[in-house]
């Protein structure tokens, strides 16, 4: 089976999307004969035409990106617009998405996922599904006990996709937890993210006391 994985993170190779992609592809390649090409959207930002042609020539495409204000990053939208001229062609890849966000709940990702599914139908591709995962900011600094379970689920998803050409709904459901946070979890998770992830970086940069600055105040 052939797969084109487009890592559409604005951060390119050094991205949370890239970490998740790595686990998925590792699983995908376990089936002998499978081949995966990885393209980074940022490298194509000045000319999307070549990547659009490569998309069109593929059997399966997964586009991975982070949530940017409740939708796809502007650069991903630019690529989607670049695919518009291909609309209505006969030979099209099957298309899926891998979307992650920093918010701990998967609920934030459901809306852009609906758009991605509609986009897939509009352009005329068969829809593979959307792999959604919250809590993904700073994956490289998150402790292993938090990440190992779902990294292995991304691997299993890749293995399964490599064998069947389908994105397994059962694994998707497991990955999507928590869809929402209980009040108890929220009280635990929010300070963990605020202090552990954000304040730590601000402190390192010496700006913690200015974190609520309003430099654009009219």
């Amino acid at each position: 089976m052939q797969l084109l994985f487009i890592n559409a993170s604005p951060r390119g190779a050094k991205s949370n999307t890239g970490i998740l992609m790595g686990h998925f592809i590792r699983g995908f390649l376990e089936t002998s004969g499978n081949a995966c090409d990885v393209e980074y959207l940022v490298k194509h930002k000045n000319n999307l035409k070549i990547l659009a042609e490569k998309f069109n020539a593929s059997d399966n495409v997964i586009i991975g990106f982070p949530l940017y204000i409740d939708a796809m990053p502007g650069s991903v939208k630019a690529f989607m617009e670049a695919l518009a001229p291909l609309q209505g062609r006969k030979e099209f890849p099957a298309l899926g998405f891998m979307i992650q966000c920093g918010f701990p709940e998967t609920a934030h990702l459901r809306f852009v996922a609906r758009y991605c599914e509609k986009f897939t139908r509009r352009i005329g591709c068969r829809f593979l599904g959307s792999i959604l995962k919250g809590g993904c900011e700073g994956l490289d600094v998150q402790p292993t006990f938090l990440t190992e379970k779902y990294f292995s689920l991304f691997g299993m998803l890749g293995v399964d996709f490599g064998k069947t050409g389908k994105i397994d709904e059962v694994i998707l459901t497991k990955l999507a937890r928590p869809e929402h946070l209980s009040a108890e979890n929220m009280a635990m998770v929010v300070p963990f993210i605020n202090q552990g992830l954000w304040d730590a970086q601000m402190e390192k940069n010496g700006v913690l006391d200015r974190s609520f600055d309003r430099p654009l105040m009219p």
Binding site: Y68, K77, A78, F103, R122, H180, Q201, V207, P215, L216
Partner: protein, 183 residues
Amino acid sequence: MKILILNGNPPGGKGQIDSYIDRLVEKMKSAGHDVTAITLRDHKISPCIGCFQCWVKTPGICSIDDDARDITRQFIAAQYVILASPLMMGFPSFLLKNAMDRNICIVHPHLEEVDGEVHHKKRYDRYPVISLLLEKEADTDEEDIDILKDIFRRQAVNMWSSVGFIHFTESPVEEIIHAITVH
């Protein structure tokens, strides 16, 4: 009222939206509003690179020094913002999305609970009401509009804004003037 219109029509200025905005600006001015319309295609707005420096290094200021900085300044100064774009593959243009992505510096990285979900904390005391002015594509259907409305409402929550109107260029300019006046 201080109104900002961000026009995301792509280069070449397709469709009816440019002339619609011209008529809208004229009517708004004669109704006594202080209105600025920015045609995004004439400005340099690089995409957000997700560096988060606007949160952790220079709080409230994007690391990219281009026209988006001034657009963000005008965004936060406005009482009412109209996001205008033709629909392209069922969504506003990438020009408009890039401009909106660059606005994350107007909120704070810290999370807090808002109606049972986690969202970012405020940076400023007040935020503009945001509205959508869209031009339909030939194949725009109810499902597209539902998806757009849902995403847009969520964007408003994350930007501490309230949702004004969602209008299409097929409705008369007067309806928008009315929607703003009664808001």
